[in-house]
């Protein structure tokens, strides 16, 4: 696979090329609008939706505030149930644990269910480097893998490809020449190809949607059944989860198994939810490994405002309502986490000293639609603004001379000062009223000079009137 994500490209730079790709925009526009409408219907059915959201937020926030306690409890219960728990500080360590486990069992091929966490740490590349072939078994992930592409949506990774493109890909790789572009026929081709892989696989790899500290139960939710195959058929199962995926008790599922499917696939319930607790004699894998991975999550946890980002259950509802995502698609974000949640998660996981991640908090109009649909009430606009503040302060303190002298920054500083007292405000207003005469035409300003021209490129400005409200009030 090609190296997917470049941390030195800003969102603004990469968005340009995606904006002009009309096929992509059509695919994504169609997909997001369809799912948005469906979500609204199934959410509308629930008279207690808001209280469920609040409970979801409260449970996750409580868990995060006592994360160390719950991690230890989870380790204990998984071990008691016959599983083995591993800890990984970063992606590299997690990859090492997986590859050494696979090698121990002498396997050359592993079946994988869709997991963004394994994408986050480039597990597939790490496996391939050690001569192990990872096989993606989710239909969309298979499409992405065969095309040597990268996912563009959390839930529907191949959302950027239409059926004709998929048919061509399958004809070239796993299908026969007569293949049509009927979705059912394309799915059947994948079914046949993957069934053989499932039956011969010794090792399965999965992510985890949730893990219950109290009982040690790990859960994955899915539609196709490839997840069930991965966690049931192989002799060994390895699951990788971010440390924030914990739920304190089994009962908490009563909240999350309601809000997740409705927010995610816009269904009352997705086809399959699996829950397993360690190892069960005579049923499924007889060896189970759970890897608890940090990889930047404790940095997010340390920020009191940013912390809520870790409540995320990866439903992707925020992507589907975002006016920015709808136009650029997922690839413009140069991260496994696209859309509004990616715009706050990526810079916190990777750090704001890198150009790419630091540009993401600006990939938003702050319209707030993401906050409104978030099933665990992550206040994404609040975190976006908070991160923008952090980025500006960082530039101010550690930036180059040029960054410190950034005209936008200077201008805003000047404005802040002008608004700080009545006297200053009125004086600046008078200067501006006199200075604008070169630009005013028929009471409006259509072109401002230099750096300010960006503002008038898209809109006209009303000129400052001869007499301000304050003048009029005094002279009345």
């Amino acid at each position: 696979m090609s190296t997917p994500y470049n941390e030195n490209i800003t969102f603004e730079e990469s968005a340009q090329s995606y904006l002009s790709n009309t096929q992509l925009r059509r695919n994504i526009g169609h997909a997001t609008h369809t799912i948005r409408k469906k979500r609204a219907t199934v959410v509308g059915e629930m008279p207690d939706w808001e209280t469920l959201r609040e409970a979801g937020r409260a449970i996750k926030s409580h868990m995060l505030r006592h994360l160390d306690h719950y991690l230890l409890q989870l380790e204990e219960s998984v071990t008691r149930a016959g599983g083995q728990v591993h800890w990984a500080r970063n992606g590299e360590e997690a990859n090492q644990i997986v590859t050494s486990l696979v090698k121990q069992h002498g396997a050359k091929e592993v079946v994988k269910m869709k997991s963004i966490t394994t994408d986050e740490i480039n597990l597939n590349e790490a496996l391939e480097k050690d001569g192990i072939k990872p096989i993606e078994t989710d239909l969309a992930e298979l499409i992405v893998q065969l095309a040597e592409d990268t996912p563009s949506h959390i839930l529907v990774p191949a959302i950027h490809k239409n059926r004709a493109e998929i048919r061509e890909l399958f004809r070239r790789t796993i299908g026969n020449k007569e293949l049509t572009d009927q979705p059912a026929e394309l799915a059947d081709t994948a079914r046949k190809y993957l069934r053989q892989k499932f039956l011969s696989a010794k090792i399965g790899i999965s992510g985890a949607n949730f893990a219950v500290a109290e009982t040690g139960t790990v859960s994955v939710v899915e539609s196709e059944g490839n997840g069930r195959m991965c966690i049931t058929l192989p002799e060994v199962l390895i699951s990788i989860m971010g440390i924030e995926k914990i739920l304190p008790t089994w009962r908490d599922f009563e909240v999350f198994m309601q809000i997740l499917p409705r927010s995610s696939t816009a269904e009352r319930m997705n086809p399959y939810n699996s829950f397993w607790t360690g190892v069960t004699e005579g049923d499924g894998p007889q060896e189970f490994h759970l890897i608890l991975m940090d990889n930047g999550r404790t940095n997010v946890l340390a920020d009191e405002i940013g912390r809520q980002t870790l409540q995320c259950i990866r439903c992707s509802a925020c992507l589907n309502v975002c006016p920015v995502y709808e136009r650029t698609g997922g690839h413009a974000y140069h991260s496994v986490y696209p859309g509004p949640i990616g715009a706050i998660l990526t810079p916190q996981l990777k750090g704001i000293d890198k150009k790419g991640p630091a540009s993401l908090p600006y990939a938003s109009s702050l319209c707030g639609a993401c906050y409104e649909v978030c099933p665990v009430k992550i206040n994404i606009p609040e975190v976006l603004v908070h991160l923008r503040g952090k980025i500006v302060r960082k530039k101010e303190q550690e930036g180059t001379f040029r960054e410190k002298m950034d005209p936008e920054h200077r201008a805003l500083k000047f404005l802040a000062k002008s608004f700080s007292s009545r006297k200053k405000y009125e004086r600046v207003q008078r200067y501006a009223q006199r200075g604008q005469m070169f630009f005013v035409k028929n009471g409006t300003i259509t072109h401002l000079p230099g750096k300010l021209s960006g503002w008038t490129a898209m809109r006209d400005m009303k000129a400052i009137p001869k007499e301000s409200f304050r003048d009029w009030w005094r002279n009345r």
């Binding site: 991690l71 989710d138 529907v156 799915a187 539609s223 059944g225 009563e254 009352r268 086809p271």
Partner: protein, 220 residues
């Protein structure tokens, strides 16, 4: 304690310095104002039938007297000859001309045998009306997970008393079991599906492509 574990726990403790040391870790104090129970029990049967039907599963209602007849009708209609069953499915449910593949802990069927079969017949632990979900917990008349996974056709028998109203009731019913045995649990809501190609729902990618449900009611 290994180094990675120690460091992660240290990082967490540093990150959570703002959390008061005496803040309660008792999760039960959180407010849970949402519904814990659903509609009246009489409504559950028709609601469940309707909701399973929404997933393009076929739903039939029958009573205990006509159960065997209904099962065999379904099997005949789908041309099921080689049928997988967990060990405790009663013989009287099935006609003699079916080639039975009975799975038991002593003589577990091989994956390849399951893959080669035409279908599977199972019961369930409970069912949820609100979401049209069938819940399996490897208990009575269900067997191990793989039985209902590899065959292409799944016929599931649901008794009226097993249907609960809404999702919280299902998790509540499983609560004690999860705290003791912790059996594998699977929620099945319709046949396997994908929406990965242009968001068109296609039934059947990896799991059973056809799901039929027979609801056994006290009286029709």
């Amino acid at each position: 304690m290994n180094a990675a574990k120690e460091e992660i726990l240290n990082r967490i403790q540093r990150a959570l310095r703002d959390v008061p040391v005496d803040e309660s870790i008792d999760e039960s104090q959180l407010t849970r104002d949402y519904r814990k129970t659903g509609t009246a029990r009489e409504e559950n049967v028709w609601l469940f039938a309707e909701r399973v039907g929404d997933y393009k599963a076929e739903v039939t209602k029958t009573d205990a007297r006509h159960l065997a007849e209904t099962i065999n009708e379904h099997l005949a209609r789908h041309g099921i000859k080689k049928l997988v069953v967990p060990q405790d499915i009663p013989d009287e449910w099935l006609s003699d001309d079916i080639d039975l593949l009975r799975d038991s802990p002593e003589k577990p069927l091989k994956h390849i045998q399951l893959d080669d079969s035409d279908g599977v017949l199972s019961g369930c632990a409970l069912a949820v009306a609100q979401t049209g979900s069938i819940v399996l917990d490897s208990g009575e008349k269900q067997g191990r997970r793989v039985l209902t996974l590899l065959p292409d056709y799944h016929l599931c028998i649901v008794f009226e008393d097993q249907i609960v109203g809404i999702v919280p009731e299902a998790f509540e019913k499983l609560n004690d079991k999860m705290k003791t045995d912790g059996p594998p649990v699977t929620f099945i809501s319709g046949p396997s599906a994908t929406s990965d190609i242009e968001l068109n729902r296609v039934e059947g990618v990896h799991g059973p492509r056809q799901l039929d449900v027979i609801i056994v009611v006290r009286s029709i």
